[in-house]
Subunit: 257 residues, 4 copies
């Protein structure tokens, strides 16, 4: 394995498939969204990507074995609609600059071979979130771009960088004549952020032929709120402590000078 | 030498060999165990692996020459049993991400060529050790896994990472249809830890056709206890000193405020 | 894309072209100069270089799409003169050592194919600038070197390093029988420095068949002065604050000892 | 230039040549020694090695041009003796792990092609030097090793690492059936250390067919002593200042507690 390798399951007929990518990143927004869609739609494993650019460790699984880090392609046969969906869920970003390009190209090779004409990549962008997280759409394809805006996304500021697999797939797709759109959900980014993933899925549902029940995601959101609450308590106490120290120090300086 | 190279000694007939790997890692658990088995079983050099991914220095040897860092394959002809054993002892982990995968693949190429059907990798995992260090078993092969558990190993928590050569051989073996098991000994990991290596060998003796006298290892354990004792003294004095400084500082603040 | 790739627009006839390179670097001197020449001369896009050694992100553009980092070749058909000009404007330096050499060689491959006989690379060197920034000329070609000196450049001290694409093109050009000159403008280097880019263009105009109006650059210079002024205010206040703190602390020590 | 490239001057007949390597390293011991031998023996340029693993900058030369970092092979036709000498003087070590191996192998390819049977590599090892710096000899060839010891070198402790080109050439030579010896001069290593280079050359003169006048090196030694003297003054003043600060602080703590 000197380059990324994709192991494919027995051949399946694909109906004009759309690839949706969710690798780890800010707030795990893309990863959570893609994983949730796989689960809710009961998408089936289609192929697995292994790469010498992923971290050099394995992870113990529930059965007592261990597995390499990987990215998995899942297929959802969209019986009633015009497009099947391939969801791509990654364990990790590639760990070197050249590896990032190699992995993105391996994904695009596979996509091209499966006749994928449209790729949706999902990520997060850092911002103080007011109430409902915004979703930014980025695409060189005006049609796809307009659809995303109509579905509730907003346009991005020029100059914003999109880092990692979500960005490179977007940038490299044009060399394969594949149309690509990136949806970036607004997130504080400190912790896995299912609330932002929900916003992204809601936008996707507004212009793609995918409908899922979002209740399961609401549970994850409640759970993450609790974690966030506890972390804020800890942070607040730390801030108070630091302030107290500073006050003591200021009084001392005042006293001495 | 643009890729790893394995230099092999004149051909030997191998009887269904099992490969046991011990590269440097946490507490040097695998390295000490593999080296001890080589010594006690008087295993013979079979092959040497050199790699441009190992550190770029040589080490002066006892005869006044110097040698590259390397990994050595030693063969133990198991006259009475059904499996010969190949012990793989490494000087160093590969130093880059891509190099880690390259070295692991070179080892597997060699193993496949020698008709190795089973690989045991050995490492350490960090924990406060109570009395006898625990040994964790990780394997996707239920047969091998059960044997290790019966021999005294315990199962690992899901999600644990296994880093480096011990992990990658475990993860990559399945692409060669090789069965693999990883044994991780519990260790504080600060220093070479022969006590944990002993626990690992005891587990191995419980399900593999290998029997060695462990007395020699007991001597190494005594020696490492002395070193540890001396290091604890130093650490205790340091901690007391830091505490004293803190007390002085607190009194000063109390005094001033 | 395992190596740098150059995408070329439909073939054009080139008249003994001179390549002028401006990649990002100290004070953005080369980048600003090359970009300004492209704009003022209305040079046309000739080719685009993409590379897996550039940073692994895309940048959102003004139309709502995103693009890979890249370097662009622009052609100025010099109707009245003897040399056409190719301006090479880069978004980023290559990010690894080996990548730096790979990108420089890809540029030289392209230059050789286009029959480029002369390359001018532009960069900055760090110095406290008195009034008008000096421009240093470096070339192994005595003819080109003398021309640059006559045009107002000064010679460089021996031993000075020239880092990155501007340096490597200069060093590697001789293997392609291409003559190369590097012009380095004196700059503090903290901020984009159009004033230094102007000095470089003035030198270039003195010995190359290029004439542009520099008024547009004067506007950029005014703008950068404002930014610099504001940053100095901030810095001055910070310095005063730090000095005050130090005084308070010194008084305290004096008082105590 | 994706790999190291060696540019060779018109062919010369070589009489059983010995290669002497001096790349930059601790105290610049090898580099200064090899450079001095080239100068004193008026050795002629034989070949130049360029590499994409060297730092990605060029250096301005005395004529106003610039050149890539490189390593140069110089030939000394030893008219009266049995061995010609090739001196290899490098500007820089390779900058990546894999690059270190690549450069060392390129050098060995060239050496093998020139029928080099013996390589001497020179470096430094860190130690407090008493009066005359010791020179350590390391070689797997007992004949060469004994000769170096008789000429005044001492044996090295087992386990000592020899880092970089001097070490790798020593370790990799055996794969080419080339005999190699490394001479490491004792040095504090803070500054270029011609005194240690002199010790190394004196050892070399004791068993190799090379004789040079060492007066020129004595001048360099005087010069380096002056620099060292000035640096010690600065260091002494710094140490006194830090001690004074500590005393003030201690008094304060004593006073308060």
């Amino acid at each position: 394995m000197k380059t990324s390798v994709i192991e494919e399951l027995p051949n399946v007929e694909l109906k004009d498939p759309i690839l949706v990518e969710g690798f780890p990143g800010l707030g795990m927004v893309g990863n959570i969204a893609a994983q949730y869609l796989v689960k809710e739609l009961k998408a089936q494993k289609l192929a697995t990507l292994y790469s010498p650019h992923f971290p050099y460790h394995v992870i113990v699984d529930k059965k007592g074995g261990a597995r390499l880090l990987r990215a998995e392609f899942y297929l959802w046969k969209n019986e009633s609609g015009t497009n099947d969906f391939i969801f791509l869920v990654g364990d990790s970003q590639a760990q070197t600059i050249e590896g990032q390009f190699e992995v993105a190209n391996a994904i695009l090779d596979f996509a091209a071979q499966k006749n994928v004409k449209t790729i949706i990549t999902i990520g997060g962008y850092r911002n103080e979130v007011e109430s409902t997280p915004n979703v930014v759409a980025v695409s060189a394809d005006s049609n796809l771009f307009e659809q995303a805006l109509k579905a509730g996304a907003i346009a991005s500021e020029a100059g914003t960088p999109i880092v990692g697999t979500a960005g490179l797939l977007l940038g490299l797709a044009k060399f394969r004549k594949i149309t690509a759109l990136c949806l970036l959900g607004e997130t504080r980014g400190y912790l896995p952020d299912p609330k932002t993933s929900k916003s992204v899925i809601e936008v996707m549902q507004g212009f793609l032929d995918v409908k899922v029940d979002l209740k399961g995601l609401d549970e994850e959101i409640e759970h993450s709120k609790e974690i966030l609450g506890r972390m804020r308590d800890i942070e607040n106490r730390r801030v108070k402590y630091v302030e107290k120290l500073r006050r003591v120090e200021e009084e001392r300086i005042t006293y001495i000078s």
